[in-house]
Amino acid sequence: MTTLTVPRRGFLAGGAAAAAGLTLGFHLPFGGDASAQSVTPEVNAWVVIKPDDTVVVRIARAEMGQGTLTGLAQLVAEELECDWNKVTWEYPTPGENVRRGRVWQNFGTAGSQGIRQSNDYVRKGGAAARMMLVQAAANEWKVPVGECTVAKGVITHAVTGRSTSYGKVAAAASLLTPPPTDSITLKDPKTWTIAGQPLKRLDTPEKLNGRQIYSIDVKLPGMLNAALKICPVFGGKIKNFDVTQIENMPGFKKAVRVGDTGVAVIADTWWRAKTALDALPIEWDEGPNSKVQQADILAAQTEGLTASEAILGSKNGDAHAALASARRTVEAVYAVPHQHHVTMEPMNATALWTPQKCEVWTATQNAEAALATATEVSGLPIDKNEVYRLHLGGGFGRRSSSQDFVRYAILIAKEMPGTPVKTIWSREEDMTHGWYHPATQCRLIAGFDDQDNLNALHMRISGQSILATISPARLQNGRDAATFQGLNPEGPESQLGYTVPNLLIEHAMRNSHVPAGFWRGVNNNQNAIYLECFLDELAHSAKQDPLEFRRKLMANHPKHRAVLDAVAEKVGWGTPPPAGVYRGLAQQMGFGSYVAACAEVSVSDAGILKIHRIVAATDCGHAVNPQQIAAQVEGSFVYGLTAALYGEITIANGRVEQENFDTYQMLRMDEMFDVETIIMPSGGFWGGVGEPTIFVAAPAVLNAVFAATGIRVRQVPLSKTSLKKA
């Protein structure tokens, strides 16, 4: 073990922490676990240990239901060798992260990266804290550190029969120099006792008695509330509003322009603000987009399916030539519409602006981006801005696609300097001003050789690019690499699981005025529908078993094949299902993980679909909390199948037609099915968990629907197709 000495230096972030001094100044009026916050000096950026042995783990990533908070705490606690029962947590702020040279690195929580991209440095944070704590005890006892052992937060020197606890030596440990990162050896995951275990979440109790404060629940002294209306047509502007009509309404304080696109009413309560806003006569300049109809968007996609120009995704061999000389070809066109995230907690944020400082309380998947937005909108230097983080009532990519909820809240609060203003979007405002799952279509053509082997595949995707909306700077020569998620020829992130001798994958980018965003699962979702349903068609056209047809193409992709084999075995593929029940398969790799599913469904003569059971397998490399992975897998089927069965956002006169759950239907408990989850971490890599299963949800069910009815559903949502027996 390395010997650690005074004085302390910054850990992991070079000297920045030292420069910032030991007072953290976490200013979290109620962010994080309030009981965890203390003035106790930290052992390092990740770990604070209080005199009573309470272990506070700092969590940089956002908790939105996916369990990342507990998983990250498990990883830190594992290396720290503390008592899990004493573990609690707190959220550092992005402002503190800036002041300390990004000691907590990335706060972004999207792309199923919370654990897989930070596991190494958070584990090292836990290990370094352990080394410092043990060193502090050894120093106090004047014994060699190598003679000390530690278990569950108790340090023992067996030779002299002494022992002490983390809480007693934490203050001394905090003064030691952290060990160099390269001197830290992490545990072999095979020896884990806290990580890898199906432990209960740390954040459950307060979600059961109303004590959990979400962003929408924030209360500050003197706070006012605002209701917001942005021009219903994307890209439209606010022209005028007649405040005289509402200024005598109860609680009314002010009606304000929000940038050049919207208007807000500020009142004492949100309900009064909303009531006044609903009564406010508003004149919009809807602009040219008000002429755009759903049919226009679809027509542009259809044109792209056969347009002569397209952006190359990947290719091998010569698909065009092979198709021209194929013994037979199969062709199909699939279509996937816009979806909305519908986080249960609508967008909201509270802002307090003065000419000196801008503070924001909100639920975001990327607190660093929220801070950047605050800095831009407040007009104040970055160190005069701060964002306090609260748990998210759902994220699903909405709260990472844009920090517009922060932007609007600050624009509104700037109209009331010194008064905190909470801006809540009504559900209608939330649903009509989203960052929608991109709408695309895909034309697939397959060619078979003389032995009826699949010899060529041409996939032409046509439609929207997410990056073109969100971050055009990330396009490479006009190419959006993310469009090809799950279809890439290689790489650890989202690799195609099949080998086809002649393959061509392209994208005809056809963007509309509808903003596209990252929607849980992202482009993997439609790519899995396109490819996995089409492969099912090909298997049937070749009169081959869909499992065997796939397996023949998967020889070079053993991990993809292993999850598929696992679900096939567990579901009993090849043995007859219960009478009237039919099966469908799908697999895909994305966000570093391999997933597969088999759905069992029945369809009544009247065309009513019932999903009975889904067997799912996940190889995420390392499984940090199996019971939470199972929860994510189950939730992913609900999310993915809500979209597959019902979800469709449509456009009329440039605006979104769906405004609430009555026109944007959700899967509910009456339709819920059994989910059997196989977690099969094969080690050696770290894959994500929050999203991957969504990819396979829709194609597995759609393939089972075909098996049951002979009807090939090529348009999502399924509710648009009648499954009634002819």
Binding site: M64, G65, Q66, G67, K200, R201, D203, T204, P205, K207, L208, N209, G210, R211, Q212, I213, Y214, I216, D217, K219, N225, P250, T269, W270, W271, R272, T275, V342, T343, M344, E345, P346, H391, L392, G393, G394, F396, I424, S426, R427, Q627, Q628, A631, E634, G635, S636, F637, V638, Y639, N660, F661, D662, M666, L667, R668, M669, D670, M672, D674, V675
Partner: protein
């Protein structure tokens, strides 16, 4: 003045009569465990008990509730998590984001009060609240667990 009895406390409130009960509870009374999800009686996030009956408070004007009626919110169920439904929720680690769970728990407790031994089919039919995170199977299992413990 509107007078309401919420969690055994009587409140005198200055609100417009058409204000939904949800917003009176959240903003005037200050109990924020009851959530806003849709405002149109679709999602159930705002579920409270009125005289023991699960009610979507976003769709009830406060003027239709009398001071004799007993309103119970999630905060009034059992602050120390002693209610068997809360215990079952804890045991099975039901919540994900948790935002819908106040409403789910209030719906579940009302269901079990009315029908202590619901069949699986009855649970499916009665529990109509939306959970966007998809915790339905754990909710169902937790109701069955609570039903078993309550029946002793």
């Amino acid at each position: 003045m509107t007078r309401l009895s919420i969690n055994d406390v009587v409140y005198d409130l200055d609100v417009e009569p058409e204000t939904p009960l949800l917003w009176v509870i959240r903003e005037q009374v200050g109990l924020t465990g009851t959530k806003y999800g849709c405002g149109v009686a679709q999602c159930g996030a705002c579920t409270v008990h009125i005289d023991g009956v699960a009610t979507r408070s976003c769709a009830i004007p406060v003027s239709t509730v009398t001071e004799q009626q007993k309103i119970v919110t999630i905060e009034g169920l059992s602050p120390d998590l002693a209610h068997p439904v809360q215990k079952a929720w804890l045991e099975l680690d039901v919540p994900q984001c948790g935002y819908c769970q106040s409403g789910q728990i209030m719906a579940a407790t009302a269901l079990l009060n009315a029908n202590p031994r619901p069949t699986e089919q009855q649970i499916r039919e009665e529990m109509t609240n939306i959970c966007r995170c998809g915790t339905y199977n754990r909710i169902k299992a937790a109701i069955q667990l609570a039903s078993n413990t309550m029946a002793g």
